[in-house]
Symmetry: C2
Subunit: 136 residues, 2 copies
DNA sequence: CTTGACCCTGTACCCGGGTACAGGGTTTAG
DNA sequence: CTAAACCCTGTACCCGGGTACAGGGTCAAG
């Protein structure tokens, strides 16, 4: 497959592929005599993996680590799992935080929207302190 | 309160306060004859709100909107609520995505970490397709 | 009344994650 | 054989969210 094909199939820009290659997320593919890259179809899967991982809160650095671990030695699997679980915990706590925030909003929004110019709207006050044990 | 005080209490950098002011997240505070800003203690709450909102996935633009809405007319409250609920849904779907990812990891990681150099590790294959209905 | 800690402005820089553009070579369908 | 569509490299730029630095003014304790 050529670059454009991979990009189209994975739903990214051609430039992005080259960017990932530069960053070490994609290995340098074989080239034709002309210099054209020739990707295996697996590359599409890798790129999609990157995109999904990103959407879910991993940084490119973390993803790079995961990819290297996944291809690496026998300890790789465990390391990847650990990383993913850490991330899960992280997102779970953010989630909780958001839920707390949403609760505060729901509770306070009524108070807030009747007295149209009441400057003592408790919205911000209610949300500005960390809600029980969130380390902020 | 002076800038340094607010910054310390809210746990941010002084520059960050000025940055927020420039972006319109903080209103310009009154000044002394000398030009020194004099903040009300409420500002600390606002900054903490910004930080918490950010930690939970809001962008500064969204936060700005929320702050303006919160201080605005009678429809402000509803609008803020709607925004927060949208965000909640968004994070919930990311969460689900992450959980799916984690499941795949847990399922696949064993397969992956025994055959140390087996290049057909299903990790990436298992994660590269969108898991049932996630719009990715 | 000095000295160190603080504040001011402006401008420039940093990182992450791309995206664009210039200037050129290649492939392939007609 | 030619023209459109693609690919190559390199460099530069974009946005978000800050952070740093230079060059100066101010405040308060001793």
């Amino acid at each position: 497959m050529k670059t454009g094909q991979v990009a189209a199939d994975a739903g990214v820009n051609v430039q992005t592929l080259r960017y990932y290659e530069r960053r070490g997320l994609l290995r340098e593919p074989p080239r034709r005599h002309s210099g054209y890259r020739t990707y295996s179809t697996e590359t599409v899967a890798v790129v999609r993996f990157i995109k999904r991982a990103q959407a879910v809160g991993f940084t490119l650095c973390e993803i790079e680590t995961m990819l290297h671990l996944a291809g690496g030695g026998p300890t790789g699997g465990q390391a990847v799992k650990k990383l993913a679980q850490e991330k899960l915990r992280d997102l779970e706590s953010r989630m909780e935080s958001l839920r707390a925030m949403d609760d505060s909003l729901l509770k306070l929004v009524d108070t807030c929207d009747r007295p149209a110019r009441d400057r003592d709207c408790p919205l911000i006050k209610g949300l500005s302190s960390a809600p029980n044990g969130t380390g902020i």
